[in-house]
């Protein structure tokens, strides 16, 4: 089979770090080639080089056997490359069509004409079963849909080589299996796909070969048919990882979080996004929230943490009513929050890592005196967190958060929220975008917090994660809690039934109308 793409001895340094160290990479026509590596291994950097966003310090790129100097994303598109970035690059208040044609608009008489584009988008969307509405506003559509818009953007530009940088990190299991099918149709047409993911199951399922990177260096390429998950992990992390963590029986204490009749609807709307939700989380237990994306998880978390402040009902933390309190007051009452969207809520990307690590505490006695920040303690504090949570970056505390790899950004948020001595830890998709080694570490941390007597409430779309760490599982469906389950007594299939609304647990029967 011919190589459509060859990257030879690519090196790239950033201040304080060699992100790519003489990496070579080959892509065959019609294959799905996965790239696997720890957080910060240099995967996104390599792809950004391929897409012309960074210039390599050394090395060359061959497309169909010819050396090319890729000058930038537009040039990359011309050469038949297309990339879906780790973090989406869509304009929120533009429509799907406008986003897709952005940069290559069809201009007539000085006006942008989207008529032809719209037609082509509909055709493509039908062909690949993407189900994208060309006229919807980006801000109104789900993350999974936004992902497909990114894919459409690439298809629209007739890419033959698709680069997908962690496309599944933000998707639900259903959306992931849809995406896998879409990828398989691409390769049938002779398109080639570079697929970056931390999820080994996906790689085993969709890829033909897998190249492994570690610390910026190339570790070799494996045929998927001749390898297994353990082998991949060993190559990537250099050791065996426990996918299933050992945990002792919980020693459960008093109720820490108690939610009673929490109801929330948008102004002027009848539909309750949260419908009389009641539950509790006790000290020393991990309770997780399972559900299909969009069934009220986001609203529930927002209402608990104060990002939504006009929900009715009661939210008590150690007996203290939180519902009318400000976010700061809730934080100070002992609540930690790992938010769903790390770029929107979790980080101030233009701030340094150390500033981000004190984002919830900078106002405390330790970090300020008479309103003046104490830089020494801030740096000390962040150095401690960086080493205990293994946050990798070019310049330590002084690294701008923006320049860190996605997984390391996530670790920074986790470090900040877990290290605070709070009584309740609320975590949404805590391991999104983390490598298997880091996931193992974070899960152990969460269990350690539980064993220290914290109450932990986790919302996750990943059943593996939920089964792995939970002592109890709540299922949410259309804004209602429909089941309260013990992991040992249930199964993936059964939870699936609850999540889709076809079954309800004892004590959660439908309210008589």
């Amino acid at each position: 089979m011919n190589n459509v793409l060859t990257m030879r001895n690519i090196s790239k340094s950033f201040p304080g770090i060699k992100a790519n160290d003489s990496i070579s990479f080959e892509l065959r026509e019609g294959e799905v080639h996965a790239i696997l590596g720890e957080n910060g291994a240099g995967k996104s950097t390599l792809m950004n080089i391929l897409f012309g966003i960074y210039k390599p310090d050394e090395g060359e790129i061959l497309l169909n056997g010819e050396v090319v100097d890729i000058k930038g994303p537009n040039h990359a598109y011309e050469l038949g490359l297309g990339m879906v970035h780790q973090h989406f690059q869509l304009v929120q208040n533009f429509t799907v069509t406008e986003n897709i044609v952005l940069g290559i608009e069809d201009v007539r008489y000085g006006l942008i004409s989207t008529k032809k584009a719209r037609k082509k988008i509909i055709e493509l969307s039908e062909k690949y079963k993407l189900n994208v509405d060309p006229d919807a506003l980006i801000s109104d559509i789900s993350v999974g849909m936004q992902q497909r818009v990114e894919i459409l953007k690439v298809l629209y530009r007739n890419a033959d080589i698709l680069i997908l940088d962690e496309p599944t990190a933000v998707l639900t299991p259903q959306q992931i299996s849809d995406l896998m099918n879409i990828i398989k149709t691409f390769t049938k047409e002779g398109k080639s796909v570079i697929f970056i993911s931390h999820k080994l199951d996906e790689i085993m399922n969709v890829a033909d070969r897998c190249s492994v990177l570690k610390g910026g260096k190339y570790q070799g390429t494996l045929e998927i048919s001749k390898t297994d998950k353990n082998e991949l992990t060993r190559r990537m992390v250099g050791r065996v990882v426990d996918f299933k963590i050992a945990k002792k029986k919980p020693s459960i204490g008093d109720k820490v979080l108690e939610v009673t009749d929490l109801t929330y609807r948008l102004k002027g709307s009848d539909k309750a996004l949260l419908d009389n939700i009641s539950f509790h989380v006790k000290a020393g237990e991990v309770v997780s929230l399972a559900g299909i994306d969009g069934n009220g998880q986001t609203e529930l978390i927002y209402a608990l943490t104060g990002l939504i402040h006009n929900a009715e009902g009661s939210v008590r933390l150690n007996g203290k009513e939180l519902n009318q309190l400000s976010i700061r007051q809730r934080t100070m009452s002992g609540l930690s929050h790992i938010p769903e969207d790390r770029h929107k809520h979790g980080l101030v990307l233009d701030y340094t890592l150390e500033y981000n690590l004190v984002l919830q505490e900078y106002f405390k006695e330790r970090f300020q005196k008479h309103g003046v920040l104490q830089f020494d303690t801030i740096t000390e504090h962040s150095e401690a967190l960086i080493s205990s949570f293994d946050i990798r970056s070019g310049r330590g505390p002084k690294t701008t958060a923006k320049s860190m790899s996605g997984g390391n950004q996530q670790k920074a948020i986790l470090a900040r929220e877990i290290s605070r001595s709070s009584d309740l830890l609320i975590a949404v998709q805590p391991t999104r975008g983390l490598d298997v080694g880091a996931i193992e570490y974070i899960h152990k941390q969460i269990i350690a917090e539980r064993d220290k007597g914290k109450a932990v409430f986790v919302a996750s779309l990943e059943l593996d994660e939920i089964f792995n760490i939970s002592d109890r599982i709540l299922v949410i469906y259309e804004g209602q809690i429909v089941a309260d389950l013990i992991p040992e007594d249930t199964s993936y299939e059964e939870i699936g039934l609850y999540m889709s609304g076809s079954k309800r647990g004892k004590g959660y029967e439908k309210n008589p109308v």
């Binding site: 201040p15 007051q329 101030v348 233009d350 309103g371």
Partner: protein, 363 residues
């Protein structure tokens, strides 16, 4: 060597390069205009403009400082608001209100004796702040965009000040306010000894102190931490429990105070001492936007940019000797700002020119 290269590649320095390129481009553009108007005089005039600020040594530079003082302050006002993600177009109005209050106190409240100017300056800051708070409140609690409100507040300030001048401290003969007695203007703190035979004014020290305070607030304090966080990412600030509404108001208040001080420095100097009944806005407010942009929103950068524009003003006066209208300078200033707004393009150019690579923090 590698280290130096890296620091050269850093984002901030790149911006400095592009600002410098913008200046050169703007000046060249001005030169072209001069050539178009009058080729024979263009080069001598341009030359004299370039060096006017140094021609008579410190005394010329004293004039540079005179022009720079109010625009450094309005530049700080605009730049500070920028840091919190607000566009304060209202420095003009805040300056007018502050200026009027200063003149009013200087004229009528002479019973404060030698402290009159201190009271006048402080009051100018306070009233500027009050004028700035209004758009801040509207933005924070009603979501009205500050660009709209500050522009409106500029007009209100203009007419209000005209009205107050006419109804209180009016000099009908000259259609302006009564002058502030010499004794009540801002003293020169000995600057006039260093920069002799110039229009140097003590307000410059106020500008320097204000710059230092703003630098300190932005970089060293909890307040600055919160203000910048709101400017960079409102959602994350909210998540972190920062009261972004209150901080928006604080930012506009401080911005207003700075512009108010600009008013005091302008009207309590021995070249101005009175307020005209005017039908157009004083330009120093809008110049603040240019200064803040060219100064990269950074307090020290703003000081330098203010001095640079002051320098051009002095040069502009020299141009008249060659038969050019001093407004050519305004065109150049405008072009420089225009070019610095295109700084992204220049940044790319700078990368090539200085053989840099755009990376560092710009993922």
């Amino acid at each position: 060597m590698k280290k130096i290269l890296y620091s050269l590649r850093s984002h901030k320095l790149l911006q400095v390069y592009s600002a410098l390129i913008a200046i050169v481009a703007g000046l060249l553009f001005g030169l072209i205009i001069l050539i178009v108007i009058d080729p024979s005089q263009a080069f001598p005039a341009f030359n004299s403009m370039l060096f006017a600020g140094f021609r008579r040594g410190l005394s010329s530079f004293g004039n540079v400082i005179f022009f720079a003082t109010p625009i450094v302050l309005t530049g700080l006002s605009v730049g500070f608001a920028f840091k919190t993600g607000l566009f304060n177009i209202g420095a003009t109005g805040q300056l007018l209100i502050g200026g009027f209050v200063a003149v009013y106190i200087g004229v009528t409240m002479t019973f404060f004796g030698p402290f009159t100017w201190v009271i006048a300056v402080i009051a100018a800051g306070i009233f500027g702040a009050l004028w700035g708070i209004i758009p801040g409140i509207l933005k924070a609690y009603k979501g009205v965009h500050e660009v709209v409100t500050t522009i409106m507040m500029n007009y209100i300030a203009l007419y209000l000040v005209n009205y107050f001048v006419k109804s209180s401290i009016y000099d009908g003969l000259n259609n302006r306010s009564l002058p502030v007695p010499r004794a009540n203007i801002i003293p020169k703190f000995g600057l006039d000894v260093i920069f002799s035979h110039s229009n140097i004014q003590g307000g410059f020290l106020i500008a320097i102190i204000a710059m230092l305070i703003i630098y300190f607030i932005l970089n060293k304090t909890v307040l600055g931490f919160e203000l910048k966080a709101v400017g960079y990412n409102k959602d994350a600030s909210k998540y972190a429990g920062i009261n972004d509404k209150r901080r928006t108001i604080h930012a506009m208040m401080i911005a207003g105070a700075l512009a108010g001080l600009a008013g005091a420095s302008m009207y309590l100097s021995d070249s101005f001492t009175y307020i005209n009944v005017q039908d157009s806005m004083p330009t120093q407010g809008f110049m603040g936007i240019s200064v803040a942009l060219l100064g990269l929103k950074d307090p020290i950068g703003i000081l330098l940019a203010g001095l640079f524009f002051g320098y051009l003003q002095v040069g502009g006066q020299n141009m008249q000797l060659y038969g050019f209208a001093p407004q050519v300078i305004d065109v150049m200033t405008g072009m420089i700002v225009y070019f610095s707004a295109l700084s992204l393009i220049f940044a790319k150019f700078a990368i090539r020119f200085f053989r840099l690579r755009n990376e560092g923090d710009d993922a």
